[in-house]
Amino acid sequence: MDQILNSLHYIKPEISAAIALSVLVIIDLIMGKNKKYLSIVMILGLLATTYFIIEQFGNSSFAFNSDSSKFGLLAVDSFGSFFKLLIILSSLIVVLFSITSYEIKKAKERLGEYYSLIWGMIIGMFFLVMSADLIVIYLALELLSLSSYVLAGITKDTLRNSEASLKYVIYGGVSSGIMLFGISILFGNTGTTNIYEINALFQTQQLQGLVVTLSALLIFAGIGFKISAAPFHFWTPDVYEGAPITITAYLSVASKAAGFALLLRFTKVTLIDSINTDGSWNLISLIDWKTFLIIISILTMTLGNFAALWQNNLKRLLAYSSIAHAGYILLGLIALSNEGLMAVMIYFVIYAIMNLGAFFVVMLIANKTGSEELDDYRGLGKVAPLLTVSLAIFLISLTGLPPTAGFIAKLYIFLALINSKMIIVAFIALLNTVVSLYYYVRVLKYMFLDKSEKEIAPIKINFANSILLIVLLIPTILLGIYFTPLVEFAKNSIALLGF
């Protein structure tokens, strides 16, 4: 009991999020049909939670230990805090999107549920990035998933919306079930669900190699679903296209970040054997994990990039592009060194900004034209210069061309790869970037070079939205030129508890 009370101050951000969720639900009940203040309550809750995350930064300890063990259920460290900060900031931006989103406005009577479910996702992701126990991983993953299944179909008024949530719940249910089966086998072979204890067992005694490998692969299947890595990416295009665009943006950034944080922690903590003098990690040699991850990563980015080539819906195109980006981010893990870890974190910050920005512009255009089809983007360059130019910058950054931030993100990934002597993999990734240039630039061609057959009304956006757009635009360009603070910040946050 004392142990539980002592650990409570380690989960202040989560407690703050849970209180904010309850307050939101109560205010929604009291206010009845008046939904004006919900967004403000939501933003205040997010800011309070941000404060507690920043306060917690730099802590390094286990929380909720059992009496007999020195390892706990949660690992509070700066790695987790970094991802929590990323998640909360993208939540803030997505809530700001939701205020103007036409799709969300139409489903106004469900705004209370919408925001509460976003809180549900946030709490799930928070526990996911700091979990050090397989059962906590499963619980947090389900909390995240269950909220996002409903959010994918929250507006209910279009066919594609309902379809997205059905596909999401079926694929998600299967993959989390498979993951749970893997967890149960790993539990049976080690007698514990704590990943630190499992690692200690790996190092000291010979375990049933085949069975343990199988269970680790099953767990990877569950994580692979969350980060939409091939071959578990089939849900991504359909769900991303069908879900409301704010939720698409949120899934592609925050939920993916949480999935990657879990993957990095699980790989490093559970499977590590020893650390070489040059800083690279040796993984437990059950199977060749490196080759396995290289195959997954190259498959993911190639499938994503090539499928994106013939997409005519911008939301679907960005869905495939986010699959491709998951492939690039996996390259950082393949480097199997702290340098690669740092590259992943830098990539995620930049990816979050530019991807949210791209989705924001698509949302603002869809608010007016009611469509995300590329055909409707013809000639938009003349009537909406600010929107189209910012979309162009975000897309160039997603390609990874200098002087945008996307270049720096890719640069660090490639540097990490080259330093761990994987030139061929880096070369394949580079070729993939060239392929991706085609479909990103194709959007620019539609906007600026093609002429519209019909007359299009000028698209005006209000002052607040242009400010938000510029706030997203500035780091996209600035981080491409002046990136030292971001690199320093990532370098200071790579400390995983115990290593």
Binding site: E142, L146, Y149, I170, F181
Partner: protein, 103 residues
């Protein structure tokens, strides 16, 4: 009288797991697919309890199974709500016919 060992439980759970996967892949009705998912979760549950009982791992296996039962119920509730919504919009729940989103 056969002596029930850990292996008997593991065989039952593996069979359940395979049946679950088989159901998910072959069934067209969304409800049947969800039942397949339940089978997978229950296979894991049998594993947890059997390992905890025969491996002398204390209560942790039973506790894990309890958590999984609760989550399976929550997941079933949410999935049913989504299927109901699908039935209202598409008037059928055959997952092969729900394909407005395609390349």
């Amino acid at each position: 009288m056969i002596n029930i060992t850990l292996y008997h439980y593991l065989i039952v759970s593996s069979v359940l797991f395979c049946l679950g996967i088989f159901g998910v892949i072959t069934r067209k009705n969304a409800i049947m697919v969800l039942m397949g998912i339940e089978l997978i979760l229950n296979a894991a549950n049998i594993n947890f309890v059997a390992f905890a009982r025969y491996g002398n791992f204390g209560n942790s296996g039973q506790l894990a199974a309890l958590f999984v039962i609760i989550l399976a119920a929550a997941e079933a509730a949410i999935a049913m709500a989504i299927v109901l919504n699908i039935y209202k919009t598409f008037t059928n729940i055959n997952i092969d016919e729900i394909d407005t989103l395609k390349d």
